[in-house]
């Protein structure tokens, strides 16, 4: 019998066939392990942490598109600038002896500086470059913002090189300013999660709540939602739509800057010039899956993409060893959405004020 099995194994196809009965068993074992509360909890926390990052990098993009109909290709580069600007604040303010609370305060200061700096830059870009071409076809806005990306990336590369840093690798000094407890694992009810993941979740939730309150509880938010539907009617009601556009563009780029600071502390991303391109792609995936221009859609899409990503990462790391696949799954979510619901989860066929 054993000789017969050995003979079968010598033929590759037959060896696969002989292994087939074992696959369902292996799958069942893996499923059992996946559904164990501790594993599932860890996957969910990791998914929520990823969703938080996705929502941070996509929120500004969707706000700007929803109101103005402008697809801002420079959004990723603005995130990258936020990472460097926030990183600079962290490197300057955090010393070796700074304690955990001090480092968190420094992070808060970095977020304020990055948000403010990027909001000011975004406002200036809107007034100086984007406003004159609102009435042109969308291709003009895409080309313009793509051009801005090239300029910003090249400027960042020059400045970073000038200060002796390698632009394509992560700025390690910033990673070093992270409090030690964020690198530790924290166990709650048998679920273990890293402090950084929980920090991401907190930051993401705060951002979502903040933007939601702005949109639903403030008069300016009301103008933004109205302008997203019909900016011409809004102006005929006495609202200076141009000013609303500038404020939203500034807010969107400010959030991108804050997201950059968060990424600067994450070793999987980090402050580097390619961060712009690395964040732009998932941001577009999330915005398109959610439905172009809807904030609610962006939040739901970020949750879906984050949870699918963390689930697939677990399966492809623990069951099928093929680490490149989880990244592909994110784009699979995009493809399936476009086939099943081309306008996205909450999208309408037409958005934008122009």
């Amino acid at each position: 019998m054993s000789a017969a099995v050995s003979a079968l194994s010598a033929v590759p196809v037959l060896s696969v066939l002989s292994a087939l009965p074992a696959l369902p068993l292996q799958f069942a074992d893996a499923l059992f392990e996946f559904l164990a509360p501790s594993t599932l909890g860890e996957v969910i926390v990791r998914g929520l942490a990823e969703a938080s990052l996705y929502v941070m990098i996509a929120a500004g993009l969707t706000l700007v598109f929803g109101l103005m109909g402008v697809l801002n290709f420079a959004h990723g580069s603005l995130t990258m600038l936020g990472a460097y600007l926030g990183g600079l604040v962290l490197v300057i303010t955090v010393a070796q002896s700074t304690g955990g609370v001090g480092r968190l305060l420094a992070f808060g200061a970095a977020v304020v500086v990055a948000f403010g700096g990027l909001a000011a830059l975004g406002g200036a870009l809107e007034v100086g470059l984007v406003r004159p071409i609102y009435d042109r076809p969308p291709l003009y806005q895409i080309l313009l913002t793509f051009g801005v990306t090239l300029v910003l990336d090249e400027l960042a590369r020059i400045v970073v090189l000038f200060y002796g840093l390698q632009p394509t690798t992560v700025w390690q000094d910033v990673l070093g300013t992270k409090p030690a407890f964020l690198a530790d694992s924290i166990g709650v009810a048998g679920v273990s999660a890293s402090g950084l993941e929980l920090f991401h979740v907190l930051f993401g939730v705060a951002t979502v709540v903040g933007v939601h309150l702005f949109l639903t509880r403030t008069r300016y938010g009301l103008f933004v939602r109205a302008g997203s539907e019909d900016s011409e009617m809004l102006s005929a009601l006495g609202v200076d739509v141009n000013r609303v556009f500038t404020v939203v563009f500034a807010l969107g780029t400010g959030i991108a800057g804050a997201a950059g600071v968060l990424l600067a502390w994450d070793p999987a991303w980090g402050a580097s010039v390619p961060l712009g391109a690395e964040t732009l792609l998932p941001a577009f995936v999330v915005v398109i899956v959610g439905g172009l221009g809807t904030f609610r859609g962006t939040v739901v899409a970020a949750l879906i993409v984050g949870l699918v990503d963390s689930t697939m990462t677990w399966w492809f790391q623990n069951v099928v060893s093929f680490t490149g696949l989880p990244e592909m799954v994110v784009f699979l979510v995009l493809v399936i959405t476009l086939i099943v619901k081309p306008q996205g989860l909450y999208g309408v066929s037409e958005v934008g004020g122009h």
Binding site: R219, L222, F223, R225, A226, E229, D230, E232, M233, L234, S235, A236, L237, G238, V239, D240, V241, N242
Partner: protein, 249 residues
């Protein structure tokens, strides 16, 4: 005219019977299409003026020109003596010119209440504005939390009028308010417009001749982008044929 003279004219407008709105020889285009070929008209304080004519003669374009949504290339539009041409639309609205557009232009994903709120120039006046809107149209109060996109056509028209009423406007530009509505709803709309006319001047585009003659004090008839007839509605009520030849297809 100097800025001072402008201000003087503005101060005098209305008090001495000078027009609230004076449109003078405006030429308006959509791209290369020449739509208004020298329209002249005026609305005096307290007046309701009907603007009539067949489809496509430039009635809506005239309203859009006043609002600077489709600015005229030539001619003048003065409101309380002040030139509007060259101003932004929101600046025209800020001066007290309201718009109740032809296709209602609801913010469909906003609630009824939010649609009213957005039209109130000063946030402090919101409570009073909501009270006015819901007093005028009790149907809307029942649906104040509903999305405007879920309202019936009649309710949407009521909401569009309510937005115009709460906007603290001295002049309302009203475009086809009865279009596509059931007769009972048209009655309610006519009542609301008549009530609004007590303290607001109006330039009313309306194809429903009985409604227009009922609500308006004077009329203009547009044809091929220019005014071809004008007068008091009292004069034509007994001579409806004078208008029908311009209005029938």
């Amino acid at each position: 005219m100097s800025a001072d003279a402008d201000a003087d004219a503005g101060a005098d407008a209305g008090a001495d019977g000078a027009p609230l709105l004076a449109v003078d020889g405006i030429q308006t285009y959509y791209g290369d299409s020449h739509v208004l070929e020298g329209v002249d008209l005026e609305v005096r304080e307290g007046e309701v003026v009907a603007l009539m004519g067949r489809n496509g003669v430039g009635k809506t374009t005239t309203l859009r020109s006043v609002l600077q949504l489709t600015p005229p290339r030539e001619g003048s539009i003065r409101y309380r003596g002040e030139e509007l041409v060259g101003r932004e639309t929101h600046e025209v609205a800020d001066r007290g010119v309201g718009w109740i557009p032809e296709d209602r232009r609801m913010f469909a994903q906003l609630t009824v209440e939010e649609n009213v709120r957005v039209a109130v120039p000063n946030a402090d006046d919101t409570a009073a504005a909501l009270e006015l809107a819901f007093e005028t149209f009790p149907d809307l109060e029942e649906r104040r939390e509903a999305n405007a996109g879920d309202l019936s056509g009649g309710q949407q028209q009521m909401l569009a009028i309510a937005r115009g009423l709460v906007g603290d406007n001295d002049l309302l530009l009203v475009d086809e308010p009865s279009e596509g509505l059931a007769p009972l709803v048209v009655e309610a709309v006519a009542e609301a417009l008549t009530a609004a006319a007590a303290d607001t001047s109006m330039l009313l585009v309306e194809q429903n001749l009985p409604l227009a003659l009922d609500v308006a004090d004077r009329f203009y008839v547009l044809d091929h982008g220019t005014v071809v007839d004008e007068g008091d509605t009292d004069d034509v009520s007994a001579d409806a044929e004078r208008l029908r030849r311009y209005l029938s297809a």
